[in-house]
Amino acid sequence: MDKSNFNKEQYYDSVRKLDSIFRGMSETINENSKWRCPYKNVENRCTAKFGCRNQDRDVNKDELYLCTGSDSLNYRSAWDL
């Protein structure tokens, strides 16, 4: 493992690049959170660690609950503790 070929300036450029990617993502998050629950994954499964009335719990063991929430409604009111 050759650690001597590390370039600090290049690293700082990398951090700036990553920061820029994340800032772009943050803007998308702000926009998406207006219509889609952030806990709902691409397969419409719920990744939350808390209860929600939109969770369909009739799933196989080890599977995430299905999300039955509509993306056109405010999802936050369904969240339970």
């Binding site: 493992m1 050759d2 650690k3 070929n5 590390f6 370039n7 600090k8 290049q10 690293y11 990398s14 951090v15 690049k17 990553l18 920061d19 990617i21 994340f22 800032r23 772009g24 993502m25 943050s26 998308t28 998050i29 702000n30 998406n32 889609r36 952030p38 806990y39 709902k40 994954n41 691409v42 990744t47 939350a48 660690k49 808390f50 936050r76 969240w79 503790l81």
Partner: protein, 241 residues
């Protein structure tokens, strides 16, 4: 060198803007197949694979810069594009961020040996009684990306747990999150606990969460309010500057 990784070629097809696709393709054709494999594993959120491949790449003599740029960040760029275009959503982004962290675990000792220290240490947690963690997790992803060392206390965090983490890690910044109006007051109680153990002067407290406002943050005595993950990073930077 062409893109030899079939999965990566498939991932590129998600980039609908052809100019953007050509730009990314050009970057990847310059990258070693091992870097392409790191990228695609990160996109797919395979944290253990990313960890193993990063370790193997370092052993083969690839520089940390190359792995970071051509492997990890190149993969995260595609994650950003897929997220922007609603092909994936927040949970998938966080899984990719976990994979990035797994790779970074091998890069960080090299940064340290090269004299690059974290910008600072930030303790992050969702307050007592609250189990909502996605906002906190996104902040953590961005803080780490910006160069901070982050201690994640998870959800339902008591004031005592915050205090212990500050002491153990000699941190000067704490971030607290709450998403319920019923748990928001626990932020104030945690700040009060810092005062009781005479810790308030050594830590800056930033707070965030959907129901919070600047006014509420001021009322409870926080040093800063972050309305989103970007603000969280900017606040942490200002506290450590």
């Amino acid at each position: 060198m062409p893109i030899v990784n079939e999965s990566l070629e498939k991932e590129l097809q998600y980039v609908s803007d052809l100019k953007e696709q050509a730009h990314i393709r050009a970057l990847w054709t310059k990258a070693d197949p091992l870097m392409q494999e790191i990228s695609v594993s990160l996109i797919q959120g395979k944290n253990e694979v990313v960890s193993d491949l990063t370790e193997a790449a370092l052993e083969k003599g690839f520089s940390a810069n190359t792995i970071l740029d051509d492997g990890l960040i190149a993969g995260m760029a595609i994650v950003g594009v897929k997220f922007r275009d609603n092909i994936i959503f927040v949970p998938e982004v966080l899984v990719a961020a976990r994979a990035m962290k797994a790779g970074m675990a091998h890069i960080e000792p090299i940064l340290s040996e090269s004299g690059i220290e974290p910008l600072g240490t930030v303790i992050m947690g969702t307050v007592k009684g609250d189990l909502h963690d996605i906002g906190k997790n996104l902040c953590i992803m961005m803080l780490r990306g910006a160069g901070f060392s982050v201690i994640d206390l998870g959800v339902d965090t008591s004031p005592e747990e915050f205090i212990e983490a500050i002491e153990d890690n000699e941190a000067n910044v704490v971030g607290m999150s709450a998403l319920l109006t019923t748990t928001m007051p626990n932020m104030g109680k945690t700040i009060q606990a810092f005062e009781e153990v005479e810790m308030r002067d050594i830590v800056k407290v930033m707070v965030g969460g959907a129901p919070l406002t600047q006014e509420f943050a001021d009322d409870m005595g926080a040093d800063g309010y972050g309305k989103d993950a970007i603000s969280c990073v900017d606040l942490a930077k200002s506290f450590y500057s």
